[in-house]
């Protein structure tokens, strides 16, 4: 449903600032009298802190203060939960252990903050931090997920008596009953490993307490400025109106920047309050590897029961989820796994159960893909295995089990991250499968191309994988729109932006209703002073939820405009049109009034206004969906494996994708490209190598490789459009799409490229080295 502005490929409003170095990022904030913080972090993954001696650091010239947990007084306590555990699932176990501002008696992961130095420069602060003496009593680290739950494992929390953080069991139908009547049961054991978000901008905060106005301003690399403000108010004992949080331009989010009440957020703002001076902390890359949350470590035991003609009777998936040292983000990720495992398929009997485990690693919070990635990997691997066993085409077995277009809304009965029973709202899954097959040339590749290449000695394979992306969850977002006396439009919303193009896409939504060029719509995001209600940018919800709120606010302003103009132009509202910043009588375009004039009239400086009217052409509106909208798609790729180096090169990658109504196709495609880039990193290079003592072995971009330009293929995208019935614009989210289906498609393609070994790959990432090992094992078998 493209309109004049909506759905158009418009260039971005924010780009000139970003391209000329004029956009403000947190580290660009420079204030008079500003101090700099450096944290001393634990070298041990697990140890008692016997003593901390900061005296030498305190003497260091240029140091203003050194604080440890003991100095924090009343504000030292475990932070609030970011997300509560789910309601509505019987029997949930949830042992809450949230992050603390700095470690007190015990450190629970390498990189945990134990002290902070505040000094006149960052250089001095780091020098002095090295002079703090901490006496540790090292403990055995809990790293292995299965051993963590075993008898005699060391414990992160002695008082709990276990490393079990959570247990959740959900079942729809009866898997046991399905398995009893199955012709075939396929089983798999899946291991996925941790990676890191690696936003190019590290985290950072500048806090500035002003004694005269009794207020704190905080610039933060956060995806949730409003929630951060509210939480800080509680923690610091201030009133919400005393705190302004600004998330300016943020250099990539991808999930970890939605985590709230991070130790540095609290310590830096508290220090500014103590010292009455601005304090800045900017994370460095090495710190980022040890103190910014991560994701993607689960171990699954899964099975699927089928009839002999390939119909799925049931799925059972029992898994362990690594939450690291804390569980501040509760169960969002494993709940996403539970709801996304069955994906686009009809699974009448589905048992899904997990245990969440505390380990001596940095905590786990959502990272682009956020739990969906593993569920999809598990299911797609089971599908591949079943197809092989039944001698069926891998796309046919998928197609025959898909939810059909006339079966929506489709209820899976499993409670998801929004605590609602999962409902898939709309879609045409078989069409996306067909489209991806057509784009990659499925039949021709398998029948002609691949045999020909194999005859030439090339190891080329095809992978194809389907996915769903639950997106755009509640609770709500809001927006306020004001037509100024200049005729320009101001739009503010609470979500922050980390590159998603909100300055443009939101302007497009408003422009469509108001008939104003999006260039003349000035968007503010992520500033609690501009708008102070909202939840944040996560779960691919910005466009869907905040976009819908913008639409609702724009509609209200439109109504005000029409009502006023109708009186002035003496024409019924139905005969008026809004275009080019004017309201005109459609048939008599010379009878018109500009929005600028109307805005002035709506805010008279003298005289009486009609009782019951509000001044100004302004409206605020909110939008909250009943449940999340589900986008989906199908990804196919062709991979060539070098039989000597086991390096895999992706030759082609296609994606047929449906996220409902598109606000700006250029921005949408960019989101998919980026997601695919991350998905390929997760498939291939990206694994945090942790030794048994909890020491990270590859904490730099030299050793932890993220994809470079020459590692990635061009990505071909096709759009399908099934508008979501859950919001008036019909939008579904897209932020995580690219990251979800890539690992299963990749390993399937690798298997297909090396048929001689009959591989069954059940892990991601799959580095060349690891593939070599797997092939060697297969040769021996």
């Amino acid at each position: 449903m493209a309109g004049k502005y909506l759905g158009q490929r418009l260039k971005r409003n924010e780009d000139p600032r970003l391209l000329t170095g004029q956009a403000l990022f947190v580290d660009d904030v420079q204030l008079p009298g500003m101090l700099h913080a450096a944290f001393l972090r634990s070298d041990y993954a697990h140890a008692w802190i016997k003593s901390i001696d900061p005296s030498a650091a305190r003497q260091h010239p240029g140091v203003v203060a050194v604080y440890t947990a003991a100095d924090l007084g009343k504000i030292w306590k475990p932070g609030p939960l970011n997300v509560p555990p789910p309601s509505g699932i019987p029997g949930v176990v949830f042992n809450q252990r949230t992050q603390v501002p700095m470690a007190k008696d015990k450190v629970r992961h390498q990189g945990e903050a134990v002290a902070v130095v505040i000094a006149e420069s960052r250089y001095i602060a780091e020098d002095a931090a090295a002079e703090i003496v901490v006496d540790y009593e090292p403990l055995e680290a809990v790293i292995d997920l299965e051993k963590a739950l075993g008898e005699g494992s060391p414990l992160l929390y002695e008082d709990l008596g276990t490393n079990l953080a959570s247990f959740v069991h959900q079942e729809n139908g009866s898997y046991a009953e399905a398995a009893a009547r199955a012709d075939l049961i396929v089983k798999t054991h899946i291991v996925m490993e941790r990676g890191t978000a690696a936003a190019l901008e590290n985290r950072g905060y500048v806090a500035s307490w002003d004694n005269k106005s009794q207020s704190l301003t905080m610039w933060a690399t956060t995806q949730g400025p409003i929630a951060l403000r509210n939480g800080l108010a509680t923690i610091l004992g201030l009133s919400e109106h005393q705190i302004r949080v600004i998330a300016p331009f943020v250099g990539g989010g991808f999930g970890p920047k939605i985590l709230l009440y991070q130790p540095e957020e609290i310590v830096v703002s508290w220090a500014s309050l103590q010292l009455g001076r601005p304090v800045k902390w900017i994370e460095d890359r090495q710190e980022n590897f040890g103190d910014t949350s991560q994701e993607r470590r689960q171990i699954h035991e899964a099975e699927m029961a089928l009839t002999r003609d390939g119909k799925i009777l049931g799925v059972k998936d029992v898994f362990i989820h690594d939450t690291g040292a804390y569980n501040s983000y509760a169960l969002t990720i494993p709940l996403n796994t539970q709801t996304h495992t069955t994906g686009p398929y009809k699974v009448a009997n589905y048992l899904t159960e997990y245990r969440v485990v505390f380990t001596n690693r940095i905590l786990v919070t959502p990272l682009r893909g956020a739990g969906r990635t593993y569920g999809t990997f598990v299911m797609e691997r089971l599908m591949d295995k079943a197809a092989k066993r039944l001698g069926m085409d891998r796309t046919e077995i998928r197609r025959m089990n898909m939810i059909q277009p006339d079966e929506f809304p489709y209820k899976t009965g499993i409670v998801g991250q929004d605590f609602a029973k999962n409902v898939l709202d709309s879609g045409n899954y078989p069409a996306a499968l067909d489209k991806a097959k057509e784009m990659i040339g499925y039949e021709a590749f398998l029948k002609e191309e691949q045999p020909r290449l194999r005859a030439e000695g090339k190891h080329v394979g095809l992978g194809i994988s389907f996915f769903t992306e639950g997106s755009g969850v509640g609770p709500y977002e809001g927006a306020r729109i004001t037509v100024e006396a200049s005729g320009k439009v101001n739009l503010s919303t609470g979500v922050g932006t980390q590159g998603q193009g909100h300055f443009t896409s939101f302007a497009q939504v408003a422009a469509e209703q108001l008939g104003v060029d999006p260039k003349n719509i000035f968007v503010t995001t992520g500033d609690t002073e501009a708008f102070h209600w909202g939840a944040g940018t996560f779960a691919s919800r910005g466009a869907t939820v905040a976009g819908s709120a913008v639409n609702a606010a724009a509609l209200l302003v439109r109504q005000k405009i029409l009502k006023m103009a109708s009186k002035i132009l003496e024409a019924p509202e139905e005969e008026l049109e809004l275009a080019d910043g004017m309201v005109r009588v459609a048939d008599i375009p010379s009878r018109c009034i500009s929005l600028a004039e109307l805005a002035v009239k709506a805010n008279p400086s003298r005289g009486a206004v009609e009782p019951g009217t509000e001044p100004g052409l302004e409206a605020t509106a909110y939008f909250g969906p009943p449940y999340g909208a589900t986008a989906y798609g199908c990804c196919a790729m062709i991979v060539e494996v070098d039989p000597d180096t086991f390096n895999a090169r992706i030759q082609r990658l296609v994606m047929a994708h449906d996220c409902g109504t598109v606000l700006n196709p250029m921005i949408l495609e960019g989101q998919i490209h980026g997601g695919v880039g991350l998905g390929l990193g997760n498939s291939f290079f990206e694994k945090l190598e942790m030794d048994d003592n909890g020491q990270l072995q590859n904490a730099s971009f030299m050793d932890y490789l993220i994809p470079r330009a020459s590692d990635l293929p061009p990505i071909e995208i096709a759009h399908l459009h099934t508008p979501s019935p859950l919001n008036p614009l019909g939008i579904k989210g897209v932020g995580e799409a690219g990251a979800i289906p890539i690992p299963p498609a990749f390993v399937q393609a690798v298997e297909d490229a090396l048929p001689e070994y009959n591989l069954e790959i059940s892990e991601a990432p799959l580095s060349p080295n690891r593939l070599f090992q797997i092939v060697q094992a297969a040769k021996q078998a």
């Binding site: 260039k11 780009d15 000139p16 970003l18 936003a199 250099g251 490209h673 330009a709 061009p714 990505i715």
Partner: protein, 164 residues
């Protein structure tokens, strides 16, 4: 603490003279001493390319140099290209092709490939990807950056031709 040293540089045509600690990184000098915050820092260990500037016309990583090493040299940063109302063709091309999302990597990417763009009127995709390999971007999957660079090469070449 060691003696302070004088650093005199020309940045985007303006001469600056500051007295700093010898260990101050060039990127910190540019960002915090000179206030030119368009140059960013993504890793401080020479891998991501975010801090790339031109030193005497050549792309270098300003996180791997100390400020005194730039003494007497010419520096060009992103602020020395176009302005918001009058973008340089390479900036225009990045906007046109949606070669940036969060924009954090962008100044470094642009400064890295500027000499390449000026010297290659019609580079292949492979050449462009290779030219970009010293810069990390986590948002774009590089696809639109590649297109932006190709477009920039064309635009720069056609401007040169017009000027002739």
């Amino acid at each position: 603490m060691s003696e302070l040293v004088k650093v005199q540089v020309t940045v985007n045509g303006t001469r600056y003279e500051h007295t700093v600690e010898p260990r101050m990184l060039l990127v910190d000098f540019i960002r915090h001493e000179l206030g030119l915050t368009g140059t960013h820092v993504g890793c401080e260990h020479g891998v991501c390319g975010t801090c790339t500037i031109l030193l005497d016309g050549k792309p270098v990583r300003s996180c791997l140099l100390f400020a005194p090493q730039a003494n007497g040299h010419e520096i060009r940063t992103i602020e020395g290209l176009g302005t918001m109302d009058n973008l340089h063709p390479i900036q225009e091309a990045f906007r046109e092709a949606h070669g940036l999302q969060c924009g954090f990597c962008t100044p470094g990417v642009i400064m890295s490939v500027l000499p390449f763009v000026e010297q290659n009127a019609n580079p292949t995709e492979e050449e462009v990807r290779e030219a970009l390999d010293g810069n990390l971007c986590r948002c774009t999957g590089y696809q639109n950056i590649v297109q932006a660079v190709q477009l920039a090469s064309e635009m720069v070449a056609s401007r040169k031709a017009e000027a002739r």
